[in-house]
């Protein structure tokens, strides 16, 4: 019960309350760049959600089995070369950034190849968005959040399992899609408006984004209230 409630709260928080775009400001570049049409926005949102889920899966596995202090795989390999008590303390988290960016770049590459081979129609609709995703900060941000929930906790029992990590990634992607689709809809209508010249283009997009962020601020505190309601202390 409490596990399900936890999953539900993580999902709600990632999608709405702490929206990746409007609260943490990650993935601003596609938010500004590819939100001119609703269809493009939907395509970008789906591609990001897809890649984010795969990257989060890889990232959780790599962190848990290789990078974190005393991780089983690195302990086993190091056990051949150094005494067991030294091998148990091996901490590879310093390599995490390099490993994550490599994991993201290669998963984008593999997803692209797979989709092109088996779902040509989907590939055509994703178009140029897939390769662009490598440099999307939202993906790396999801990986880093998951890492901080595995490595950064004091009590090993509190470390996130695969289910929680995947929930964060999927609903983070859903939140990204919600934000970018709303933005696409607003921008389609904005084209018919008489905007002062200096504001045309990115400037008005940012101001609309500010108003959207204000609207999303309305969700602040919902997660704490729900947590107290579901699991009274």
């Amino acid at each position: 019960m409490s596990y399900l409630a936890d999953i539900f709260l993580i999902a709600l928080s990632a999608a709405l309350i702490n929206n990746f775009v409007l609260y943490y400001f990650v993935g601003i570049c596609p938010f500004v760049g590819v939100s001119k049409r609703v269809e493009m926005a939907v395509g970008m949102g789906c591609a990001v959600t897809f890649v984010m889920t795969i990257a989060a899966f890889l990232c959780w596995i790599i962190t848990t089995f290789i990078l974190m202090p005393g991780a089983p795989l690195s302990k086993w390999i190091a056990g051949f070369f150094v005494p067991a008590n030294v091998a148990a303390g091996i901490d590879l988290t310093i390599l995490s950034y390099i490993v994550y960016i490599f994991a993201i770049a290669s998963s984008v590459q593999f997803v692209e190849m797979y989709v092109r081979k088996f779902f040509p129609a989907l590939y055509r609709s994703f178009g140029v968005f897939l390769p662009l995703i490598t440099t999307n900060c939202a993906i790396l941000f999801a990986c880093l959040t998951i890492m901080s929930k595995i490595v950064g906790v004091d009590n090993p029992a509190d470390a996130w399992d695969l289910g929680r990590s995947l929930t964060l990634a999927i609903f983070g992607g859903v939140g990204f899609t919600i934000a970018i689709v709303i933005m696409g809809g607003i921008r389609e209508d904005l084209e018919l408006c008489d905007i002062p010249k200096p504001f045309q283009g990115v400037a008005i997009t940012l101001i609309v984004g500010g108003i959207l962020a204000m609207a999303f601020m309305g969700f602040t505190g919902v997660d704490v209230g729900l947590r107290n309601a579901i699991m009274p202390l």
Partner: protein
């Protein structure tokens, strides 16, 4: 090309005419995320300067060895290495600040400014030009970051570098320190920059 810009010209171009934030619209995540006070903004700008300079110099040194289809991967790994160094240095010497900046330091890896400069400039130019280009671009980035941070910190808390500049009776515009303030400030500043440059062009 006969008139390749010299090192000095590249340095000056990065500051205003080709400002990475206001003109090229690159690296917007840190611009919005950590500009609610000056100290964080300056630290962020310094980290970006360090990473951009080192990455540009290294890329320029290895430019003749790069294979075209692998270059983006090489750039990214170079950048990730220097970001790790910057992150560890911050955690060692400015622990509180590195807690405040949190995930935004590692996110420098995917900051488009750095990859863009490696691709456009450093992979084609000599080390001296690449270095001065990096310094110019990061100075422009620092200027953009601190201009937004100054507005947000003064309006949001009435303070500047944590020193009070507005009278204590100033009602803090809390919204300026929160996420919406970042979007609004940057949008208005961008419009102002567009307006000023369009005036200049007319004259």
């Amino acid at each position: 090309m006969a008139d390749q810009p010299t090192a000095t010209e590249r340095f000056i171009q990065g500051i205003l005419p080709e400002n990475p934030v206001y003109r090229q619209m690159l690296g917007l995540c840190p611009v919005l995320a950590i500009t609610n006070n000056m100290k964080a903004a300056i630290t962020m700008a310094a980290s970006v300067t360090f990473v951009l300079f080192c990455a540009n110099v290294v890329t320029s040194l290895i430019r003749n060895l790069l294979k075209p289809h692998l270059r983006i991967v090489v750039f990214t790994l170079t950048i990730a290495t220097f970001v790790t160094i910057a992150d560890r240095l911050l955690a060692a010497y400015l622990y509180q600040m590195s807690k405040t900046l949190g995930p935004y330091i590692p996110l420098i890896i995917v900051n488009c400014i750095i990859i863009c400069r490696c691709e456009v400039c450093a992979s084609k130019q000599s080390i001296f030009i690449a270095g001065s280009d990096a310094l110019g671009q990061s100075l422009g980035f620092a200027l953009a970051l601190s201009s937004i941070a100054a507005v947000r910190e003064i309006l949001g808390t009435g303070m500047f570098f944590e020193l009070r500049v507005l009278p204590a009776a100033w009602p803090d515009w809390v919204i300026m320190a929160l996420p919406p303030g970042a979007f609004l400030t940057f949008g208005v500043m961008l419009a102002a920059v567009n307006w000023i440059s369009s005036k200049k062009e007319k004259n």
